[in-house]
């Protein structure tokens, strides 16, 4: 096992995870280390740019800046992996567009040439599910599970931008993806099906209509609650902010008093790999809904 070769990716950090939710990066990095996966950063990257508002200001600029990031990634032969679903969405669409639309590729490259860069769209852009489920594999992950999440029922929230459009994201299914459920099973917990699994968290319209945004969030949380889940597991930092950080504000629209712990995928896997202290050391700072009851339900002793 010590001889197995490590897999390297160019890590596209984005803005939100490294500076607002660094526990995402911290926990996933530790999990990946155990799986012999190494993330290498490139200081040449900028904001992806984010896909929910920037294209609506200047879609051509969005493609151009996205293509510049793709060009930076193409300077190495490694695949690029974005932990953030927004970054992944932008980069995978821009990559797909560069590859499939010659006219756009040519005009965007005329602009990139001014800074000595070129983008072909040939680099692979991956999200964390591609890395864990497809590249590393469930069997390899299972070997590292030392503290199975016994007795926990966990609902998935994939988030829209991780999955759609499938011709660019190369996910397993646009309406009923299963990779996250498979990871929950490997971690020893039970995945919970619920109504409208692929429904949006509501976050993207926060800037333009807060009450509608939270109404969508509240509906989602209610459906998960009705399915009897102990927790939600998710990947996207924007969904996390909406479903965890802002949960209290959202539930006021439908079910005041109700609360549900939310785990980032890296946290869920870290707990299952026995990295309890690593997860708990940051839980007070980044979780408004306590996650300790989950550990108690599993029968894990915590200080």
């Amino acid at each position: 096992m010590g001889m197995s070769k490590s897999i390297e990716y160019t890590y596209f950090p984005g803005c939100t995870i490294p500076f607002r939710l660094p526990h995402f990066e911290l926990t996933m990095k530790e999990v990946l280390k155990r799986l012999n996966v190494e993330l290498i950063t490139d200081e040449g990257h900028t904001c992806c740019p984010e896909p929910t508002t920037f294209p609506g200001i200047d879609i051509e600029a969005w493609l151009t800046v996205g293509a510049r990031n793709i060009a930076v990634s193409e300077s190495s032969s490694r695949d690029t992996m974005a932990l953030c679903s927004g970054c992944f969405h932008t980069l995978s669409i821009v990559k797909h567009t560069l590859q499939s639309d010659k006219a756009i590729r040519e005009r965007v490259n005329r602009r990139l040439k001014k800074v000595g860069l070129q983008a072909t769209g040939e680099v692979s852009v991956k999200n964390i599910l591609h890395v864990l489920h497809e590249d590393v594999g469930l069997k390899r992950i299972a070997k590292e599970i030392t503290q199975p999440l016994k007795g926990l029922s966990i609902a998935t929230h994939y988030g829209c931008h991780l999955v759609r459009p499938v011709e660019a994201t190369h996910m397993d299914d646009a309406e009923n993806p299963r990779w996250l459920e498979n990871l929950i099973k490997v971690a020893g917990a039970e995945p919970v099906d619920y109504e409208d699994k692929m429904a949006c968290c509501g976050a993207p319209i926060g800037p333009s209509d807060e009450s509608k945004s939270f109404k969508i969030t509240a509906q989602k949380l209610r459906k998960i609650r009705n399915a009897g889940a102990d927790a939600i597991v998710l990947i996207c930092p924007t969904c996390y902010t909406q479903l965890e950080t802002q949960q209290r504000k959202a539930v006021e629209y439908l079910d005041p008093e109700f609360s549900l712990p939310v785990l980032y995928l890296g946290e869920m896997l870290a707990l299952a790999m026995g990295l309890t202290d690593l997860v708990l050391s940051n839980s007070k700072r980044y979780h408004r809904v306590k996650i300790q009851p989950l550990l108690e339900k599993m029968g894990v002793d915590i200080e």
Partner: protein, 175 residues
Amino acid sequence: MTASGISADLEFRKWILQQPEGETLLRCYQCGRCTSACPIAAIDDSFNPRLFLEKIILADESLAEERLIWTCLTCEQCEVRCPEHVKIPEILVLAKVRGLVSGNTPQTALDRARAILSEGRTILVSEPMLKTRDKMGLPDLGRPPVEQLRTILKELGTVQRVESAESRYGGDGDE
């Protein structure tokens, strides 16, 4: 000029059809599956993707002036359910782009774009944020090469357009 939002030369419609994915508009036969799939339409009768598409097909520019288009979640549920794979979210993005000059952009979206163009990031990185990363043993990410963004966007005039744009809708919490 425009009467009921339709310009004589159909300029808006022509522009949409020239944009990436814009020509998928012509595949729309108004079946309405987009609207029945839309989570916003489910809670707001005035938000109707099928009608948005109809307006653009009929070259009605008024859509670009409607604040409503900014309540599209970009969740792409409409596109997933569309039998003709019309790129509905992208077409709404194009209508948003057209609304920039008339002030139909939320202030938060403008602020975010300005941060991206001046800092290379959506957020302003503070000293405590850097300290937290350092404490966690996470790598220094350096400073994004913002000058390069300005150079590659020069011919598009993005920076000037975003700097001079104003929002009709003020800051947070306006309704």
